[in-house]
Amino acid sequence: MLAEDTFFLSVRELGDQIRTRRLSPVELTEGYLGRSERIGPRFNAYVTLTRELALEQAHAAEREIAAGHDRGPLHGIPYAVKDLVAVAGYPTTWGAHPYSSQKFDYDGTVVERLNRAGAVLIGKAAMIELAGGLGYSTGYASLTGGCKNPWNTDYWTCGSSSGSGAIVAAGLAPWALGSDTRGSIICPSAWCGVSGLRPSFGRVSRYGAMAIAWSMDKLGPMARTADDCGLVLSVIAGHDPRDHDSLPPRLAEFPYAHAALSSRIPLRVGRLTNVWREPDHQIEAAVDNALAVLEMGGATVSDVEIPDGPYEEAAELTILMEAASAFQELISSGRCSELRDPVGQINGYASCQFSASDYLQVQRVRTLLQKQIDKLFDRFDVLAAAGQSSAASPLRAPPEEDFAGPIERRAPDGISSLCGLPAVTVPCGLSKEKLPLAVQFIGRALNDQAAIGAARSFQERTDWHRLRPPGV
């Protein structure tokens, strides 16, 4: 029987033990499956466990490794995938009742790549219905119910990659795949105290994944460390002609090199001073401390402001408009009424009223905003900000009166998602309620290395990422 600490090791640590035959992929997989079956329901973390597939893949990995065939950093390593990616023969529910019995007979490209890398799929992670594509007002907007934060089950994980966050935080898998259209990897990673990477747009194929907004959807890893995120990205990144927005091969591939990142000093960090409307003072202090750690490591940190512009509005409108098209059949059939959330039930009807010229105007503004933000990276390698404006919020029932408050005018998630920028969030403290606080690093488009490098540099000097939720 494996020691409990094993389930909280990083992908790199687990991989080292597997390759040196100190750890059996089969035993590890059995262990994670057992924890997932035993502990997972406490958090509503999974939609489906893929026990049979997992054990088949684990046995194959064990045989290959014993025979000296090494498929790389994820060989024999278990993972979970958000339930919006097709896995042949298993339900792919998109977290939503209208699709609760949906199955595909093929694997999404990302799963194909992970299969080739010898990774072991143990389950499909719970998520917000349609990844929030038609809007939602609370964490209960999911086929599997509200996803509970392993740090305190009265609190929400955030969404839409809710289950992926809970799974990694609770040690039910060492990493999980999430998706991010506007913050759906960054927020649950921050609130669950794990490390999350939203890759540059176009780097990871979305073939076989549910679409919300084609021009903004990204897939990426949530893991114990930024270094693990880099390892996973090196496997899942790459050109795919089946994804219309896939980058060309030379740009899509991610040749992650562990040692090379540390040599990139001094790191130039721009601390965003005008993001988040009302940031929690605890988070601001934690971010200050995190950046001080980087400075001690040789980085230079300067304040910088996001130029004025309707970033959040452009991001929100792009999602609403593209989602109205992506879910056109669901909306026109009226089956959106089967969604749980009162906003999701009707939001598509509102989004059908946008005009084509409004869509194009949003996209014209987007081009200008993209150029504005890109200029900042002439002066900085990464931009830094709080991962979220607060620690996790309580898991609440839907509000009775209104659907949503005003959007965060300068939430960094919207800005960087709109512009396709890579971002990494890592834990950097605990609130007085003992909930994780996080700092995020945003890189220039395609410079995922810089965002990973900054986060890794921080984690090499601190141990916030090694904290575990109580009682798991």
């Binding site: 790389g72 080739r116 991610f254 040599s263 309707p310 009223q353 105007q361 081009t367 488009a445 290395q449």
Partner: protein, 90 residues
Amino acid sequence: MTSDQVREAEAKLANAVRQFGDRLSEEQRGRLRRILLYNEKMLASIRTFRTANGDAPASVLSYFDVGIEAAEGPGSHPSPDPPRGVEKQG
């Protein structure tokens, strides 16, 4: 909100009700109205953002318009060595 914006939202509500009204309760119509008013506010910030005739839409998000080659300069991709995970993939 300006009266023009409110009128536009009300017109969209009327159209949505014409299209989908048989599916909507009174409560849902009220919520739909609030959503449409809110969307109108967001659109206003887009419509007032200054654009020139030649400013093209990001219909397909392109990195190449913003000098992204700079991000590929020395140091951005620090190592030419592929990790084993990539190397071994067929």
